[in-house]
């Protein structure tokens, strides 16, 4: 089952296998202990208990992720670089980042 279907994602899911966007945004690699340490292990245990499954991956498990907002003019407007696999902005922070963009026509 694809990622989009499994998580019922309502928006476009893109693949960046070569990690061009990750590098453009400066998202590097985490240390082994940051990725596989107690904090991450606790998060994965919580996910397993809530019914999620861990998946085998052939990709770089130490690649850090994050979030970004691009404005209507195609310029980077906001960025959040995750310090670990469990480090993400809140939904409210993400929504605020989008709402802070100048409205269309301004």
């Amino acid at each position: 089952m694809g990622y989009r279907q499994r998580f019922a994602v309502p928006f476009i899911v893109l693949s960046d296998e070569e990690r061009h966007i990750y590098r453009a945004l400066g998202f590097g690699r985490g240390s082994f202990w940051r990725i596989w340490g107690w904090k991450s292990a606790k998060k994965y245990v919580e996910l397993l208990r809530s019914g999620h499954r861990l998946e085998k991956t052939t990709a770089d498990t130490r690649q850090l992720g994050g979030n970004a907002v691009v404005d209507r003019d195609g310029r980077l407007a906001w960025i959040y670089a995750g310090a670990g696999p469990d480090d993400r902005p809140t939904v409210d922070e993400l929504i605020d980042a989008v709402r802070s963009l100048p409205s269309a026509g301004s």
């Binding site: 893109l14 990750y22 453009a24 945004l25 209507r72």
Partner: protein, 55 residues
């Protein structure tokens, strides 16, 4: 069409993007297998969630 596939694409200085920098129009593949690039969302805000997870 500006398709760049080098590190720090779209930034000749090679540094990561800063706020205000043009976002690279890198071609990616969507969940249907179609090619998509950021300019396809021109005129609308674009939210990127770069997900790295095992679950």
């Amino acid at each position: 069409m500006n398709t760049t596939h080098s590190d720090n694409a779209g930034n000749p200085a090679g540094r990561p993007l800063s706020i205000g920098d043009p976002f690279p129009d890198t071609e990616l593949v969507d969940h249907t297998g179609a090619v998509w690039k950021p300019s396809d969302a021109a005129g609308e805000p674009l939210v990127l969630i770069l997900h790295r997870h095992l679950a």
